[in-house]
Symmetry: C2
Subunit: 318 residues, 2 copies
């Protein structure tokens, strides 16, 4: 089974809407912003908006603006996150003079915010703007909490809060607002939001697992690159839970005192432990919760498509 | 003549609305953001919103949200600008660990964006959101153009474009949207926007003149601090127009090749030239244009208050 043709045909329309929104903007940054947006282009979130929009009989034109706006909000945060993970400025492309990296990234992100706000306003729904601003605030607050957590230990709860803020919140937004601009039916809107949470959490954990995997054809970054930057994701957290005395944990939290060889050894140890499998169990658990939420929706072709999407996330690391 | 009591009494309400909006946000950044917002607190722009809102019979509650939203948008851009003028991180306060300066400023700015978006959405007007997003984009585009201008000379036109983007655009927004959420009368809205442009330009040039002045009781920064950072404002531009061969111009544009003594000498030369007086003439010209726009509005106490405000800007450097 594949996605219905009309959904997959609409994805290029969203991409075109983003390009139109950015047309005529300062060309010096645009090449790099363009590269970031479309290099990282994943159609999962826009697909969710389109499917839920069909469930809610939303205006197709407003749906395109909505999906494009959410992708631009995500892009803005990605650009600014690269400044927070300051050693990891991979997203700023070769066109930018290195001395302008910080400024360029700040302004490129702000330009993406402006585009997101314009596209969201183009839906013509005040309630959409409210959801956007709440989501932005939740994301930023989560990033701030995460930024200042350093050296204060790490646990699954704070990891879950962090990925909820940075990833799942945008999935909640993508699903919920698609109902909001259509039928606005309260129960469906709540289910859409809950489903967005579950699929968003499953998606981010599965991404974090891939950071420890060498089995995937396209690797954008070296194995363990999050850990090399001192970013602890779920596999590392599970590993340290079962190895609480490991001296590398403390040095990682303080981003000092470990050698490249220490890190290489740790990454091998994590990959050989049961931490990856335990993380996969979490992906499956979020996926299963997502499926259970779907069972509360009418049995339609759209629901079947959502079931298929969550199945793809559960199995992408198998 | 003083501002009518009810206008000046509403200013604290706007400040309180901003504080409420920020309550409960991550406390680590909040102290610094708070310091920035209220250290730089100028009541001119909110006062314009309140006066035009009275002209347009706008809902007082929506006006408070609107004025608070504009101040938060301005704050967001100020915070991010400090990263663009990277050597000038004066706004990030002592509570922030220096190694987090960049990250903290990016996220504090984003938090201010989120607050601006929430307050703007709280006005319940989609058209307000559209004006906000257009303004944000205009500001960011102007900053980008200005950032990449380096070494390519400087002239009054590009200076005017830059201060229109970074300052006058927010005054246009403050005046125009106050009509937009009230009577929405096209002619008044257009006049309000035009007036916002003129008073905003006059205000920024008068600020830039103060950078060359030692006559003011409260100096937030040393004389000539813009120039010391390689930022050419109107007095310097007038000076170099009449001294085109000055070797310091080129070195300033490339931010190298000049000593502290060179700069000190240049600042004295600018202060002793007619450049400051010519800049004051520009303030008066923008002020006069603003007055002429006001003459097209009905002769009301509100119009008299606007005339008084523009008079204060014209004479603040005398």
């Amino acid at each position: 089974m594949t996605l219905s043709k009309s959904i997959s045909e609409q994805i290029p329309e969203i991409e075109a809407r983003i390009r139109t929104q950015l047309t005529g903007k300062p060309s010096l940054l645009l090449a790099d912003l363009d590269q970031l947006i479309f290099r990282g282009w994943r159609s999962l979130r826009p697909t969710l908006t389109l499917i839920f929009g069909r469930i809610s009989n939303a205006d197709p034109e407003a749906l395109i603006n909505l999906a494009a706006a959410i992708e631009m909000l995500s892009t803005a945060m990605l650009v600014h996150d690269d400044l927070v993970d300051i050693e990891n400025q991979r997203h700023i492309g070769p066109n930018i003079n290195p001395s302008f990296r910080t400024s360029a990234a700040v302004l490129a992100g702000d330009l993406a915010f402006a585009a997101a706000a314009q596209l969201a306003a183009a839906t013509n729904w005040v309630a959409v703007m409210q959801k956007f601003s709440e989501t932005l605030q939740f994301i930023v607050s989560g990033e701030i909490t995460h930024m200042f957590r350093n050296g204060q230990g790490v646990d699954r709860d704070s990891y879950y809060h962090w990925i909820h803020a940075k990833t799942a919140s945008l999935f909640e937004l993508a699903c919920e607002t698609a109902i909001l601009i259509g039928t606005q039916e309260d129960e469906t809107m709540s289910l859409a939001r809950q489903f967005g949470y579950q699929i968003g959490m499953a998606y981010q954990i599965s991404n974090d697992i891939r950071d420890f995997s060498s089995d995937h054809a396209i690797q954008e970054k070296p194995i363990g690159s999050d850990l090399r930057q001192g970013i602890l994701t779920l596999p590392a957290i599970f590993y340290f839970e079962s190895h609480p005395g490991d001296p590398l944990l403390r040095s990682l939290l303080h981003k000092n005192g470990h050698s490249q060889e220490d890190l290489d050894g740790l990454i091998v140890a994590i990959r050989q432990s049961n931490a990856v499998e335990r993380s996969l169990d979490e992906v499956r658990a979020f996926g299963q919760s997502g499926r259970e939420i779907l069972m509360k929706l009418p049995n339609t072709p759209e629901r079947a498509e959502l079931e298929q999407l969550i199945g793809q996330i559960i199995t992408r690391n198998d």
